[in-house]
Symmetry: C2
Subunit: 713 residues, 2 copies
């Protein structure tokens, strides 16, 4: 009922080419959705205004109404605290005159009661370019620019989402008895936000943004004092995408039995040469068919002039020739029934203009022919199991990692290279660099990896996300159904300021805060740097999720401990409080100069057996959820028995164990030895804590979405 009315109203004003829905109409919609607005009425004459004001009782507020006007306060369109009939009349005439003199349309005046003071919040809706309809909650009313205290979620939202949003605001303090004031009606506030969320879904696609600012919360309720609906104008509205991840034929990029290399070269240092080397001269056992112009032999293999010359159908075409040739190549692939094409070549949309158009054509053709395409402008895929890769990085310059259980998807080829090298010994399952994602996108790959039996956890580096809803749907499925964690670093966070003029909510369109909210909803573990990404990936690859936030630490050197604890607040971690019995047990065992609390300071005199004892004590303590050892391997008493000790404790511990150490060749040797038995070692206090945060976060996601029986683990 309210939905159809809302849609009709928005459509009407859109057809009239209005900028905004007039305020009294906005408030009418809000009331239909169960929100409270100030008493008042829309009037067109001074007489009516006085009549309404008299009926409301003074003081009143007068607001200019126009469907063309974005910023009424700045245009002198709002008069607060008008205390008499003569004041109403004078104000009315003044506003009329003002609008007339500026030659602006004034449809009428909204006369409203003054709302008693309370805490001011903003609730906004926004058609985000990536996620479509999103809801924003913020504190501040007039203070919004100073506070920058806002949080977002993708619509629809449920009560739990809104409660979580409120918890993220510093302004929540206002709700709970701030400085001797009474507690406010938080329930009415949450109800109002949920109702705005419903409105946002119902009107999806018909608005650019909506601001309800301020929403005044008092001890009695929540009142929407101002309301603005900005209608779609210059840009395309995203709305609610229904696109679903498509994993069709993605296995051909990782496990092709046969590969055609289009653009193979016999000239060393040419990309077509290095890719041929990667495919032909290393451990990949599939059949490779080089396609060259001259048809020369490459690394002892016969090459062909055309795809149609090949003696058999191939699973995958790898393309390293110039992008302008690709549309025709796709046509040939269609003819040869090649289901998958990996385009390494760059020179597409990153250059704009004609090149961007070319990419659009490739997109169209791929969809038309039903061919899956990864790239262009990427380094391609790697499968650690069958050693397939088509990298244009030589083995001499870039080591390929061993088989592991972590998959990495990356928009940046640079980080693709460094991830593979960083995980040389820990291993990866699969890696995909997908560049300009003309067809296969992040969502498709996540959906594919969610079902990949060799992948336990996913790491992702993204700069932008194409279809946000499709992405979130894929991520949610991987996390909730396949129970695989996704750790993600989204860079490119500079706030877009172009939309700032339209609405407060709009100023955040495409900004990182929007992504952040959507990631939370999906249970994605979002991090803030590539270092945090690899740290979290290492931890998730090797260790269990944590059953709580209680961190315990053991060390023979205090410095990194102090730094680590400084980071706890940022990450929401807690220093576990070991049971008195645990402390006592350590005090009875250790020399008097060891400090037996959390962190356990075993001093420069510590042996590996001291670490063993402390770890075993903490393993038994229910208040401890993560065990973190920092090692100063430079200190002589710490012997190399620590490696088998960690191996044994790790094999019996349900609790995650994370180690840290920093130093030169000896320290590196020890760290590698420890990682070889399955316990990760971090080289900075920051990444050590980021790793703990990932395991704590993953534990929370699992508990929140687990059957009750599991959540008590």
């Amino acid at each position: 009922m309210e939905k159809s009315q809302t849609i009709a109203l928005c459509r009407r004003y859109i057809s009239e080419k209005a900028t905004v829905v007039p305020e009294h109409e906005c408030k009418g919609i809000l009331r239909k959705y169960g929100l409270t607005t100030p008493g008042g009425a829309f009037v067109e004459t001074a007489e009516e205004a006085v009549r309404v004001a008299d009926a409301l009782g003074y003081p009143v507020v007068l607001k200019a109404v126009s469907s063309k006007m974005l910023h009424k306060t700045e245009l002198g369109g709002v008069f607060l605290n008008v205390v008499s009939a003569s004041g109403v009349r004078a104000t009315f005439e003044q506003m009329q005159a003002g609008f007339r003199s500026r030659n602006e349309e004034l449809q009428g005046i909204l006369v409203e009661e003054m709302v008693r003071s309370g805490a001011e919040f903003i609730v906004g809706l926004q058609d985000d370019p990536n996620f479509g309809p999103v809801i924003m909650l913020g504190s501040g009313g007039v203070l919004i620019d100073i506070l920058d205290d806002v949080t977002f979620r993708m619509l629809p939202v449920n009560r739990e989402d809104v409660q979580e949003m409120v918890e993220e605001l510093r302004g929540r303090l206002f709700l709970r008895g701030y400085r001797g004031h009474p507690a406010l009606n938080e329930e009415a506030f949450i109800e109002a936000v949920l109702n705005v969320g419903r409105l946002g879904m119902d009107a999806a696609g018909l608005y650019e943004s909506m601001d309800f600012n301020p929403l005044v919360v008092t001890s009695e309720g929540a009142v929407a004092v101002d309301a603005k609906i900005v209608l779609p104008r210059d840009r395309e509205i995203c709305g609610i995408s229904g696109a679903q991840p498509d994993t069709r034929n993605l296995d051909k990029f990782f496990s092709p039995r046969t590969v055609a290399l289009i653009g193979a070269s016999t000239t060393p240092d040419k990309i077509g040469y290095v890719v041929a080397d990667s495919l032909i001269n290393h451990d990949y056992a599939g059949k490779v068919y080089p396609i060259t112009r001259g048809g020369r032999e490459i690394f002892g293999l016969r090459s062909y002039e055309n795809l149609s010359d090949l003696p058999e159908k191939v699973d995958l075409a790898v393309v390293v020739v110039g992008l302008p040739l690709v549309p025709d190549i796709l046509k040939q692939c269609k003819e040869q029934e090649i289901p998958a094409v990996l385009i390494i070549s760059g020179g597409g949309k990153e250059l704009g203009g004609e090149q961007a158009d070319l990419e659009k054509e490739i997109h169209r053709k791929a969809r038309e022919y039903g061919i899956r395409v990864i790239g262009p402008n990427c380094i391609g895929c790697f499968n650690a199991e069958n050693r397939f890769d088509a990298f244009f990085q030589t083995h001499e310059r870039m080591v390929r990692p061993c088989m592991g259980n972590i998959a990495f998807t990356t928009q940046s080829g640079t980080y693709g290279c460094s991830f593979l090298e960083e995980f040389e010994h820990l291993g990866v399952s699969k890696m995909i660099s997908y560049g300009n994602r003309v067809d296969v996108d992040e969502a498709d790959m996540i959906a594919y990896l969610a079902k990949d039996p060799t992948t336990r956890a996913l790491a992702a580096y993204v700069e932008g996300i194409g279809d946000g809803r499709k992405f979130i749907a894929a991520a949610r499925e991987a996390i909730l159904s396949s129970r695989k964690p996704i750790v993600l670093y989204k860079s490119g966070r500079t706030k877009r300021s172009a939309l700032a003029a339209q609405s407060h909510t709009g100023a955040y369109g495409g900004a990182y805060k929007v992504y952040q909210g959507a990631f939370k909803q999906a249970g994605i573990l979002a991090v803030d740097s590539y270092e945090e990404l690899t740290a979290a990936a290492k931890a998730l690859s090797l260790q269990n999720p944590a059953a709580g936030t209680g961190i315990s630490m053991i060390s023979n050197g205090a410095g990194p401990m102090v730094n680590a604890i400084d980071l706890f607040e940022k990450y929401g971690l807690e220093l576990a409080k070991p049971l008195p019995a645990t402390i006592q047990k350590m005090e009875d065992h250790f020399p008097p100069f060891y400090i037996c609390k959390n962190p356990v300071d075993v001093t420069g005199s510590a042996t590996s057996d001291d670490y063993r004892f402390a770890m075993e004590c903490l393993l038994d303590d229910p208040n401890v959820h993560v065990i973190m050892n920092w090692f100063v391997f430079q200190d002589t008493p710490l012997d190399e028995e620590i490696v088998p000790i960690l191996d044994r404790i790790n094999s019996i511990s349900e609790k995650p164990i994370l180690c840290g150490a920093i130093g030169g060749p000896y320290t590196e040797k020890m760290a590698k030895a420890i990682e070889a038995v399955g316990v990760p070692v971090f080289r900075t206090a920051h990444t050590w804590i980021a790793a703990a945060n990932a395991l704590v976060g993953w534990g929370k996601v699992l508990r929140r979405n687990a059957p009750v029986a599991q959540s008590t683990r």
Copy 2:
């Protein structure tokens, strides 16, 4: 004049054991210092109150006055907006009754005019446990808890300091025409803060904290609406320390001709064994006298039972025996005229109780005998020039770096070890781990290193700072007179909440924000992690300060570029805008698929000569102040000629050059080769940017404190 009156007043209330100076007296002081306070008077009867209110005009404010009361608002001691004589009378009686019923002393009532609304700020003074009198500036009035928007400086402050403080507040927006409001009187605000600063200096040692909250700023002026002076109670007041850095005999810790090792051992793995090995078996050429209980031979050297048995006077005693023996050892050192003692042994104040007392005794004896002591609980000193060290870390486990130009002082031995190893090839000049600093402290060492000809830049890791003023004085001297940059990481930042109840300003006592302000005043380059510290040290060791904030970047891989730019806002860096001619020159030279703006994207096809060309273009561009290359060494076209190219450009460039690369063995090999020619290479986007920030920051410090001629460089 106002100074003596202020001192007298504070002393009087202190002698009366008052908690606070009553508000009307506080305001009297403020007026003496030139501040504006609301019109009004202190009264003791309802009749007087009415008389004052009638004279002021309504509405008025009534405030309870008591020297015992910390929080009058929460105690119902403040009534705003009293509009009539009868209201004044009723309110007066109500307050009296309220205080009587709670059995609290009420000295009288302050009747004041209501102040017209404006922007609310807080100005506070605090006797900080490290720095003595500090001033705080914040925005918010009642919002202070929500905003947490405060900044500190050590007193005294000048106009430039206060202006800088204002710039740091988000609340500065209020001053400058916030959302259509008129601009406020910023000049009056700054004047008021300067006057509060004078008061803070004059009354130094006589207050625990002062809050002037709110200080209401309007377009006309600034009015101190509320005033609270909290008098010293339970804790010692720090006041203004006059201690000066003392570098006497510090050279004995770095360049001793002769060393006695007290506690040398022949048992491998014992600390006394490893230290003997460090001193005797490596490159240190001085004479070493082992002191042992049995007098056995050590590494072929004769050992002695007592210091008095030694054949000559020694420069330095190194102590590795238990701390309880140290007071007596100091006595023997006195007798043998040993001027310097390095105590490696731990077990002091970190354990509290008796051990802490023992440390105090060592402190007293050291001062009494005039012996300089470093430690206890440290790893000691290292001099790269003469290879002197007394580390208990074997050479097998910890490499000693080559000679370089950066000095490192550290409270953490762990970071001492890792710094030495990290700078293995870049080199250090000197390193000092000073542990519990019973005598020689950070200030002494900085003063010493400021004069050390082998040291070009100082890096420091601190957890706490003893005498803050002494420290800042030493740092300022090193920076301004010796022109040596100091980069510093202060950890242990958890906010002390114990003082929160006393005053808003007091809640920050000892908190990092106080340190931050003092560091800024001294020109110290403060960083937020150990990784940033080493990155900045590397940059300052090898490269020039930057002449501005304009960063240019060149890369064959975009990912780290995107991350780096995300960090610009945090660090206050800017993406340089190259001149059109620079862009043109690159466009004319490079293939069309290179992107010739800033960053310069030379794509995966880039050769070392492409980097050369781009660097040379940017070198010539006056808008560019820092040149930053990111290398994907995994990409084949990038040849090894890049090393001599960087060598040559670095030798002629006044502009700093900073490189980045991340990867496996080949990338590490290339990075090391580039560092060997004097150009630093960073392994994360974050440290790469932190390094740039250090050079930009150091340039700013130099320009701010340089003669005009130099500042145009």
